[in-house]
Amino acid sequence: MTQTVGGAHPNPPTISTIENLTHRQRRFEKPARSQRLTAAWLIAPAAVIGITFVLIPIALAFALAFTNAKLVSPQGPQFVGIDNFTRLFHDPVFWKSLRNTILFAVFVVPIQAGFALLLALLINVKVKGVNFFRTVYFLPVVTSMVVISMLWLFMYRPDGLINALLSKVGITGPDWLGNPNTALAAILFMSVWQGVGFHMVIWLSGLQTISQDMYEASSIDGASGWQSFRYITWPALRQTRTFILITITISAFSLFTQVQVMTQGGPLDSTTTIVYQLVRAGYAQQQTGYASAISLVFFVLVLAVSLVQRYLTRDKDVKK
């Protein structure tokens, strides 16, 4: 396996590899018609699966949101107009989950992106052992979120590792996951710990596209470390930055596993999220219609973020 992604192709096939093909493989076909036909059956498997399991379910999300569809029900779904949305907007738990989801995203995005950039800068230097540090910072990323949630469930116990560490510096820690004021923050901190290595690598790939000459020139001109970061590094990372912000935001909106394993939305709904409500409504309560309405709200949130991103990148391109 070659380790590079992209770049030149190491061994292009020579004329002789092509000449070694069998006679059947070299059979002559009329170009235009054969291309259409070949394209059709090359695309067919992906198309059949994609239509059945992605496109139809997306269409169903829109359709079922206006029905009383149930997961298991002898009769088919009936049109109920905007009943599901009326019910949703009158449900205090929905508003709580929307608030928690947005709150989580608002805090996790800058914290995770900033911390990841700090890590990327720390390992983008010529010092011994940098590969080792990168590997360790990345380990939580390849560990499953279910495992991590289980592990931190222990660490967050009132008599767990976190409070034991805090007591060494004289702080009495709370019951992190049992207290409505700290539960969401605790999940947030753990999520950053798990995901930050992923975004560190993406920052790093952005950092390494910056030409070394720029830094040399700036250091000749007497620029400080902060100045060269502010005027060279930061502007050069524009695209990377947008990508990182968007991926963290979307994965923050999708918060589910941590909540399911650690708190089941509690205490006092302080950690319930949109996706958690979605699964509760559509799976535990089997109300597919109502869950589809929640799915649509979730989709609108994600779409809004993507459109904002598209708008921001286009704006900058015009200026350039």
Binding site: M1, Q3, I49, V125, M150, L278
Partner: protein, 302 residues
């Protein structure tokens, strides 16, 4: 895809350090890096070490450095308990088979589709590409519940109705992957088109060109797609939680959740968690450069 990504895993020395920054900053930098290593590494060390201890000792060690050392009452009892209390090997095999099928079938199906889009001429290509790019921004969570309802209505091959509670429902929906098609498309598009023409002159069919010329040249793209589809497949949790009830069909992550609900001791949970984590960490360390490059190349998307 730019070839700059090739350097990511090498952590090429980019910023001149040392010399003028002086000894103090160097030591400060190292202290910070090592401190961070402890932050990221110690919880995992704690996981593995605790899997060897009975609960009384796990709790007794909290607050001391012994939490992170395999000392005291060390045994493999927790592991034996895992194998006795849940069909662990069954869960593991399920996850291995499901991930392998998702990855292998995904590579074949998505690369074929991308090949047609990147190198063949036909009408409607723009529309198909547009649809694929549009579905990239739709998270799975949006369609999960409608899909659950829909899967329950689909005819199954034995003539019954409903795909829930089967192996198929756990991997077939995840084979066609817009992001994988997009990655393959970009890569195939960068391979010179003259190769196709040369092969065509010699009478090779399009499928031959795909299989004997383009795919052998696309090792890096295949590796990237394999890694980026393997991790989510292995970590599948929400979907099997909803779509599968039968114990024998469960993958490892749902199995861990189930094990937890059996009032299991912490040590046994840690043992189960270690068993499903160690193979992945070993794979990661063995193919580290490929892993890191795959993640980095996913960042080119935007």
């Amino acid at each position: 895809m730019s070839d700059t990504l090739a350097h990511v895993a090498e952590t090429a020395p980019r910023v001149p350090d040392a010399k003028k920054t002086g000894m103090g900053r160097l030591i400060g930098g190292y202290t910070l890096r090592i401190l961070l290593c402890l932050v990221f590494g110690l919880p995992l060390v704690f996981l593995f070490v605790s899997s060897l201890k009975p609960d009384t000792q796990i709790f007794g060690d909290v607050g001391t450095v012994k939490s992170f050392l395999p000392v005291g009452d060390i045994s493999l009892d927790n592991y034996t308990a895992v194998f006795n209390r849940v069909p662990f090997w069954r869960f593991l095999m399920n996850s291995v088979v499901l991930s392998a099928l998702t990855v292998i079938l995904g590579i074949i199906v998505n690369s074929m589709c991308a090949f047609a889009l990147a190198r063949l001429k036909f009408r409607g290509k723009g529309v198909i590409l547009g649809i694929i790019l549009a579905t990239l921004i739709v998270p799975f969570e949006t369609l999960a519940l409608p899909l659950l309802w829909w899967a329950n209505k689909l005819p199954y091959y034995d003539g019954s109705i409903g795909w829930l509670d089967t192996y198929e429902v756990q991997f077939i929906p995840f084979i066609a992957n817009a992001f994988a098609i997009y990655l393959f498309y970009q890569y195939f598009d960068s391979i010179p088109k003259e190769l196709d023409e040369a092969a065509k002159v010699d009478g090779a069919s399009w499928f031959t060109i795909y299989r004997k010329i383009i795919m052998p040249l696309s090792g890096p793209a295949i590796a990237t797609v394999a890694i980026l589809t393997f991790l989510p497949a292995w970590n599948q949790y929400m979907w099997p939680l909803m779509s599968v009830q039968t114990e024998e069909l469960r993958p490892v992550m749902v199995g861990l959740d189930y094990f937890k609900q059996l009032n299991t001791s912490w040590g046994q949970l840690m043992a189960y968690a270690s068993l499903i984590t160690i193979p992945i960490l070993a794979l990661f360390i063995a193919f580290q450069r490929s892993f890191v490059n795959s993640i980095a190349s996913s960042g080119v998307k935007g």
